[in-house]
């Protein structure tokens, strides 16, 4: 059998696969991949350029359309606003006219009232002015009289003061002279008095000399000089006065 066994034959598919495998090796694949990438980029760039053109055109168209639309809308709005403005102006004008008429009327009444009040005030002021003028005239007359009398009195006072001043000056002069004289007398008297005082002090001192000595002796002797020590002296003094003592005892 083996002898007869034939070698397994490759199928076309296998052959294709093998062929493909030999054709599409890695390098070829890489080239293909590079080629694909370049092609894809070119397609994308082209499409992008086309898309950009379309987009620019669309934007330009939209701009134009939008500008036209806005212009139309604005025109309409302006038209409406102008219309409203006209109506509003007319309304306000009417209202203002009415208010002005009322204000004018009121103002006129107020002016008339104020005018009447002013006239009354003016009349009252006039009366007051007249009364004040009369009072002022009376006061001025009175003040004038008083001032005249005061001036007269002051004149008299001034005369009296002058006289008094002269008298005072005279009196002062006399006083000064009297004082000078008194000073002279006092000076003499003082000298005399000082001399007298001096004599008196000396005299007093001399009169009290015994007492001074007495105090001194008393202080010096103290209690040490007792009666026993004094006895001879006492007896001697008694002897000296014996007759007088005896005579007095006989009476």
């Amino acid at each position: 059998m083996g002898l007869f066994q034939q070698k397994k034959r490759k199928t076309p598919q296998d052959q294709v696969v093998e062929e493909v495998k030999s054709l599409f090796d890695n390098e070829f694949r890489e080239q293909l991949r590079e080629h694909g990438r370049l092609y894809f980029e070119r397609v994308i760039n082209e499409n992008a350029a086309l898309f950009k053109q379309d987009l620019d055109a669309t934007v330009a168209h939209i701009n134009t359309e939008l500008r036209q639309h806005i212009a139309r809308q604005l025109d309409n709005q302006f038209t409406q606003i102008n219309q409203v403005n006209t109506e509003l102006r007319k309304h306000i004008t009417d209202q203002l006219d009415k208010q002005f008429i009322e204000y004018s009327h009121t103002m006129k009444e107020a002016q008339e009232m104020a005018l009447r009040t002013l006239e009354k005030s003016a009349d009252a002021l006039k009366e007051q002015h007249q009364a004040l003028s009369a009072a002022l005239e009376r006061s001025v007359a009175k003040q004038d009289a008083m001032l005249t009398s005061a001036v007269e009195e002051n004149k008299n006072h001034i005369e009296e003061m002058k006289a008094a001043h002269q008298a005072a000056v005279q009196s002062l002069t006399q006083s000064v002279e009297a004082l000078k004289e008194q000073q002279t007398q006092l000076s003499a008297l003082l000298d005399k008095s000082i001399a007298q005082q001096q004599d008196l002090i000396i005299e007093t001192f001399m009169n009290n000399m015994a007492r001074v000595v007495e105090h001194y002796v008393l202080g010096a002797l103290g209690d040490q000089y007792d009666v026993k020590a004094q006895l001879p002296s006492i007896i001697q003094q008694l002897e000296e006065n014996k007759k007088e003592i005896a005579d007095d005892m006989k009476l």
Binding site: E214, Q230, I235, L238, A246, D248
Partner: protein, 172 residues
């Protein structure tokens, strides 16, 4: 008749130890006490009781009796003596003597002795004290004063001091 009947108060001699009127009064009191005791003894004698004849008396009384030669055993004479001593106490002359320092009894006795010898035999002293006298005495008799103090002497001698001072002033 004893001597008491003859003697009156003016005849009595006072001993030296009786210096003041107080001493005299004390002596009279002592005599009265003795008189009482003697009377008591007499009464007891009459009653028959035993008596103790020892009598005590002060030195002043004993000396007075001795100096005046008096016997006090008779009660009538004793009574008369007491009466006379009372009269003497009333009439005894007193001299007030002021000293500059407290006087001791001996000095007082000596002064009293001198006064009885020189002035009056029955004089008594009333002693006082005045330190400002400095020294000496100040006597006051019934009608006079006798200033025998050093203070008065100094005052009386002030003229001498003045003269001395004036002499010193003249010298200076």
């Amino acid at each position: 008749m004893s001597e008491i009947q003859e003697k009156t108060y003016s005849d009595f001699v006072l001993p030296a130890n009786i210096v003041s009127k107080v001493d005299l009064a004390r002596m009279i009191s002592d005599l009265e006490r003795v008189d009482n005791e003697l009377t008591e003894i007499e009464v007891r004698k009459k009653a028959g009781a035993k008596t103790d004849p020892n009598l005590t008396m002060s030195d002043q009384l004993a000396e007075f009796l001795d100096q005046n030669k008096l016997d006090i055993h008779d009660d009538h004479e004793r009574s008369r003596l007491i009466k006379q001593l009372h009269v003497l106490k009333e009439h005894v002359p007193v001299i007030h003597v002021t000293f500059s320092a407290p006087a001791d009894p001996e000095s007082l006795q000596e002064i009293a002795h001198w006064m009885r010898q020189s002035v009056h035999p029955q004089v008594v002293i009333s002693a006082g004290l005045q330190p400002s006298l400095i020294a000496g005495v100040y006597l006051r008799t019934p009608n006079k004063v006798h200033d025998l103090s050093l203070r008065t002497k100094l005052r009386q001698s002030s003229g001498l001091l003045v003269k001395e001072l004036e002499a010193l002033r003249g010298t200076n």
